[in-house]
């Protein structure tokens, strides 16, 4: 049953390279799930939680997103929570992997397990989040494509074939990914190379894409998986990473 709720914007502020918006909402989405917000455009905008508290959530959006035009106190009509989110219950060692601009939906998981490692890739240092915003208990690994910070290379392949994921994937009990979906087949192959028998829920990947209706009516968000086509809005947006390798 789809819910329709009223969210109230309590604060909106720049948090480079994003803007943050805090909303009060009776039933906020859990990590990986989303709400569709009516912000005056042709379609509702999906908002993923980047921070969660009781009856409120924070979302991080790119500059010029319509949320940034709202004033505190504004009421926003939202549908949701929608979709299928991350499932990490019981994991003691959690690995989070993201491209910097796709990172926000993973942020609510930074303290979701006793041991968390976070790997972030960006083209250059300026696009990385400030390390001071990451809880000190999180083991942070930075990768830049130009070598301006952290490891030189990409998530899949570092300098001298030395990506931190080769060590961290065998260590983790669960791994959650938030990247451009075109990266997922290569990342799935990396998981297979480093884990002998990764379970179906070991590696979970968030597929961020346009979600016009959010309820499985429009068929715009079809994703090809090893089990056939699935709709990101109702069958995802979190999928088994290994099922996304259809190459």
């Amino acid at each position: 049953m789809v819910k329709q709720q009223q969210a109230t914007l309590t604060r909106v502020y720049p948090l480079p390279p994003f803007w943050a918006a805090d909303f009060a909402l009776a039933h906020p989405p859990t990590p990986g799930k989303f709400v569709l917000a009516e912000l005056g455009g042709a379609l509702r905008e999906p908002l993923y939680p980047a921070g969660l508290a009781e009856a409120q959530f924070t979302t991080l959006v790119r500059p010029h997103h319509p949320v940034t035009q709202l004033l505190p106190g504004a009421t926003v009509d939202v549908l949701g929570p929608l979709g299928h989110g991350f499932e990490i219950e019981g994991a003691q060692r959690l690995l989070l992997v993201a491209e910097a601009l796709w990172l926000p939906p993973l942020l609510p998981l930074l303290e979701a397990a006793p041991n968390v490692a976070l790997v972030i890739e960006a083209t250059t240092r300026a696009l990385l989040p400030s390390p001071t915003r990451i809880p000190p208990a999180v083991e942070l690994h930075l990768i830049t494509q130009d070598g301006s910070a952290g490891h030189l290379g990409t998530l899949e392949q570092g300098h001298d074939n030395d990506t931190p994921l080769r060590e961290l994937l065998p260590w983790a009990e669960r791994a959650c990914f938030a990247c451009d979906p075109v990266r997922y087949p290569a990342l799935a192959r990396l998981v297979r190379e480093t884990r002998l028998h990764p379970g179906a829920d070991f590696a979970q990947a968030l597929v961020q894409m346009p979600l016009p209706c959010g309820v499985g009516a429009c068929e715009v968000c079809r994703v090809m998986t090893r089990h056939g086509e699935r709709r990101a809005c109702v069958d995802g947006p979190v999928f088994d990473l290994l099922a996304l390798d259809v190459t």
Partner: protein
Amino acid sequence: MSWIELAPRHKMGLPIALPVMPAAGAFGYGDAYRGLIDETLLGAVVTHPVSPRPRHAAQGTRLATRGPDMVIHTGWPNPGVRAVIREYAPLWERLTVPVIVHLLATTPAETSSACAQLSRVRGVGGIELGLRSGTASRDALTLLEAAEEDSEVPIIVRVPFADVERLAMRLARAGADALTLTAPPRAILPVADEEEPGALTYVRGRLYSRSLFPLLLELLSQWVRRLNVPVLACGGIATPEEARACLALGAAAVQIDALLWREPALLTRIATTLAADAQTTEISEERYD
């Protein structure tokens, strides 16, 4: 309450209680908006387009927006007639309003077979035949004939936007039980590549826009009175007043398209407004006698 007959010439008829329903492709197969839209307030449920055989989703970018307008190219993915019937027949039987299955016309043989299968499903009150834009007149009439051959329920034909002038009268004379005017027009919009400033890709597909509404009224004003079959109006209808305007021009019912994704309540808001209107105005069926 006055019933609205969408297929007065068909032996079974297709009576609906209210002149409002979702358009094909906007509402899934009948269950997507459960809990949000009360389908008992609608005249009918029109399903996502179904093809005789399974279809995969289109590759590449499927959506482009420009202000309030959007172009969508999904490729009409669906599991095919047999799988759809297997999965949704129990739901359609339970719904309290008739289901109109939108069938993508392919070949005459496949169309005929699909109509035969669909029309025997309990709850299916009609079939809306979807023609590709630019379908030749002779092909359109052949497909209609094939659809009617083994169908036990009325056949509504959804006429492509650009083909109304060429096809509407021919289809009505050839025996279509009703016509939907129109399918969304074809259009192209560019999509900016966020990773590569200045780079553009293009999406070619169906245009959904409120700007279509005046064009729809123009078509209705030209055609409804000349056609001797009921017309379902579809395209950019976004308010109860706009739905009313379509009915005032002679449309038998209205279909609400992609605009309902942004505002699901629109469908029931229009339905309740028109229901209130219907209490004060008897809708005459004489025109179709």
